[in-house]
Amino acid sequence: MYAQMVKSEATNDDPEKLAEFQAKIDADIKIEPKDWMPQGYRKTLIRQIGQHAHSEIVGQLPEGNWITRAPTLERKAILLAKVQDEAGHGLYLYGAAETLGVSRDELTEMLLDGRMKYSSIFNYPTLNWADIGAVGWLVDGAAIMNQVPLQRTSYGPYSRAMIRICKEESFHQRQGYDAIRKMAEGTPEQKKMAQDALNRFWYPSLMMFGPSDKDSVHSAQSMAWKIKINTNDELRQKFVDQTVPQAEYLGLTVPDPDLKWNEERGHYDFSEPDWSEFFDVIKGNGPCNTDRLTARNKAWDDGQWVRDGLLAHAKKKRARHLAAE
């Protein structure tokens, strides 16, 4: 899940309009940009979609780190295509957020100065090639869990962005599983690397869904608005149930001694991640927080002359065109 702990905004609107709005949502009628919507709905969506977009963009960094060092030309081309997709996903989501009355540059600035967050998962390093497989398999796998139901979200532009993203996301997860499978089926050293990557990425992946929110008022409001479809615990359980057999197929061990199939529940029982670590990471103290924000700030600053230059060129061309008319 790329949006974590999104607080819903209180809404202070005309009760009659609110009731009408809720009736539309309950009837699965999509809300479109120019439709009336409660202030809280608008603000919460900007926060959620913005955080999601930032995650796609920052998420390029840990993978981009390995493009030049991919083991074969084919893996390199695949990784390049995947990282390019992430840029596109960021763009679709910024586009959806912009329909709510915020500009992309405003959102970018809020990411760069730390006012807005991105997913905690991207503050972990990718130390070797096995990590790239693990990221595709586990991180994109966890993201899909959340994104598939969001295709049905109540806000039209967000829903359309999610549909487009989900079409591409399955490639991401499968290429990751394929890469880590190659290692799990390789030499003993390679298998050890695959196991080590799973060990390090398992709990951070479970954290992606955020802490339990079954008693959260924010989640209840977001679910009533259909901008959140499942609780964090539901999605985490689904992810574990899906991923454990995939790990078994690879001959890898999920690093949780208490992981056990529960016949009665029809689900796996598993250990919670260390939530104090999660809160520490989102506060800025993860292994890579500083690196990630420094890299994004540098890219933005270094790109300034390109943005200015192209705009100046476009203005000059337009002026010349007008003069010729």
Partner: protein, 94 residues
Amino acid sequence: MKNEWPLWEIFIRGQHGMSHRHVGSLHAPDAEMAIKNARDVYTRRNEGVSIWVVEANNISASSPSDKGPLYEPSESKVYRHPTFFDIPDEVGAM
């Protein structure tokens, strides 16, 4: 943020013989770059054979509050649909 690139709406023809369809938007300094960016963003998987770009502020749209006056009148005109008319079986397909 006065130096932000303008927003463009992107329309793609998916296949020969189909009309262009709105697929999303992007920022670009001019139409030429908007087409280049649209190609990179929206046709990476064979989704298109032609691209239109329109600067977003050049699009005029109907207002949601006009929904009633604009579209309700057509609801009562069922005779505009061919199924309104009964044609005797003996006449054959029409």
